[in-house]
């Protein structure tokens, strides 16, 4: 949800007194009327008697012929092709259930993995509480979320830590053209993988992990102010040890995925070691 790049609407007649019209974005709350200007109700809105109202807390964004409200909070709402980080909550005979922070658990079928999984042996490959990087493949009307582990940069996460922030903040973590995530990985030397669902995997030496965590805290606590990348950068520079000092941050352009995607183990864990079924299921 690239709210930061969207062109904003024109100001409403009676914008809330405290919602500073930063440039052009208007904050609305559930039940507040939106000037429709002939647009149809899109996500986050509803219509009663010819008038449009917001149904979620968020920023008004006209996308002709619709007007929508981009949420500023809430759980992760899956979109096809999102790369997300999930934690196994259950292992069944032919699939695992993943908590990806969405309204429902997402089933990962054994055929959606690069492994040769025998029926009933799912736990040899992935066990409860282990984490994976997967891609949202399909969604159906009942809210079922299909995910796959087949693809570049997808796989099981070994080691590291996972931090959670609001999914609405992910565009700020990535930054314009990946500038923020590049700054973070290059200044700290940590390996970072960002899931669109607000889960962020970090690995590296403990100090690097700590500095990434602080940077993420800055991003998630910061209001919708500009200059965030610069402030995170100056924080990371001020806390770096002298040997990191020389690292030059290039002016982005290269995809941030290069920096973050090559670190996953796409191979199954060594056979024979872990016996399945030690307690759960």
């Amino acid at each position: 949800m690239g709210s930061s790049h969207r062109p904003g609407p024109r100001r409403r007649g009676h914008a809330g007194s405290s919602s500073h019209p930063s440039g052009d974005r208007v904050l609305v709350l559930p039940g507040e009327e939106i000037a429709s200007q002939g647009l149809k109700p899109g996500p986050g809105t509803y219509r009663v008697g010819g008038k449009l109202y917001a149904s979620v807390l968020g920023l008004v964004s006209p996308q002709p012929p619709f007007v929508q409200v981009i949420p500023l909070s809430g759980r992760y709402i899956p979109k096809p092709n999102d790369v997300v980080i999930g934690t196994v909550t259950d292992a069944q005979g032919t699939f695992w259930l993943l908590d990806i922070g969405a309204p429902r658990w997402a089933p990962l079928h054994m055929t959606g993995t690069p492994w040769q999984v025998e029926i009933g042996e799912t736990e040899k490959f992935l066990r409860v509480k282990e984490s994976v990087v997967v891609r949202v493949e399909n969604l159906d009307a009942t809210g079922r979320i299909g995910v796959t582990m087949l693809g570049d940069g997808l796989g099981k996460l070994e080691g590291g830590s996972i931090f959670r922030i609001s999914p609405a903040r992910i565009p700020r973590v990535v930054g314009r053209g990946g500038s923020m995530i590049q700054t973070i990985t290059q200044r700290t030397g940590a390996q970072v993988a960002v899931g669109q669902n607000g889960r962020i995997w970090v690995d590296g030496d403990p100090e690097a992990i700590h500095r990434v965590r602080e940077a993420l805290r800055m991003i998630s606590e910061d209001g919708l102010r500009s200059g965030l990348t610069e402030r995170v950068d100056s924080y990371l520079r001020s806390t770096s040890r002298s040997d990191d000092e020389g690292v030059q941050v290039p002016p982005s352009e290269t995809a941030h995925r290069d920096a973050s995607e090559s670190h996953f183990a796409s191979t199954p864990p060594s056979e024979g070691g872990d016996e399945p079924g030690d307690q759960n299921n």
Binding site: L29, G31, G74, P103, R104, M218
Partner: protein
């Protein structure tokens, strides 16, 4: 608990028309709301309203537990209202009782009429309300806190739900009863309003009123709800304000 003999009954309305705490008949107690008070909840709010202190947390939409409550076409809204043992003068026996079950039920039903539950089939939206300090009107305070918490959790709904109790004490219709007015007054009428449509989605009554008094009480309550609505909106704006410019601290 009707008035029993004149002995301990305080003067609920002075000859000047002022109430036991100096308020006018249509005046609310001071109310303060903080949106987003808890870290782990999907949404939360803390409300101080007169001498009431209430925390609300919202989780979800998430997997339904217990599973048999799951509905195939919409989310279920589960609410748990609880009073802390230390929330009243005499220790309250902790845990579920008849009163808290009833309040949980009416609050959940009030939210069912505004939340767009069809957007999240087979899930549960769990609302927890904890009363830390009570001084009459805690179901309304809890509902207000939960409503702000739902908005903070990004749950789609038709509107916020302001709520207030109206009642009768000292012969007058009064807004937002405090404890003495509730205990020794003649009637108590909590209500919750959908400001966008003007509908009431919670209305209970204890005690006696004439039809004329009821009509007057409803008008007074709706006006009170609209006042509280503004405080609720301001709390959410304060939390999500779009602040321009690169000022501030790191």
């Amino acid at each position: 608990m009707g008035s029993v003999g004149a002995k301990d009954v305080p003067v609920l309305l002075s000859p000047e028309g002022l109430r036991i705490d100096g308020r006018r008949v249509d005046e609310l107690r001071p109310i303060k709301i903080k949106a987003g008070a808890l870290k782990h909840a999907d949404g939360s709010a803390y409300v101080e309203w007169g001498e009431n202190k209430v925390m609300a947390a919202v989780y979800g939409p998430r997997e339904v537990h217990p599973r048999h409550l799951q509905q195939n076409t919409k989310a279920v809204i589960q609410c748990k209202y609880n009073m802390a043992a230390f929330s009243v003068d005499e220790r309250k026996r902790p845990g579920l009782d008849r009163r808290s079950q009833e309040i949980s039920k009416v609050i959940a039903e009030a939210f069912e009429s505004v939340v767009f539950a069809e957007e999240f089939p087979r899930t549960s939206i769990d609302v927890y309300i904890e009363v830390l300090q009570a001084n009459a009107g805690t179901r309304c305070a809890g509902l207000v806190a939960a409503s702000v918490a739902l908005a903070d959790a990004g749950i789609p709904m038709a509107d916020l739900l302001p709520a207030v109790a109206v009642g009768k004490a000292g012969g007058a219709i009064i807004l937002d009863l405090k404890k003495e007015e509730d205990n020794f007054g003649e009637a108590d009428l909590p209500m919750a309003l959908v400001p966008q449509s003007g509908r009431l989605v919670l209305l209970q009554m204890e005690g006696h009123m004439t039809r004329e008094e009821l009509a007057k009480a409803l008008d007074m309550g709706v006006a009170g709800c609209r006042g509280i609505y503004e405080v609720m909106k301001q709390a959410l704006r304060d939390r999500y304000a779009v602040t321009p410019g690169p000022e501030g601290s790191a």
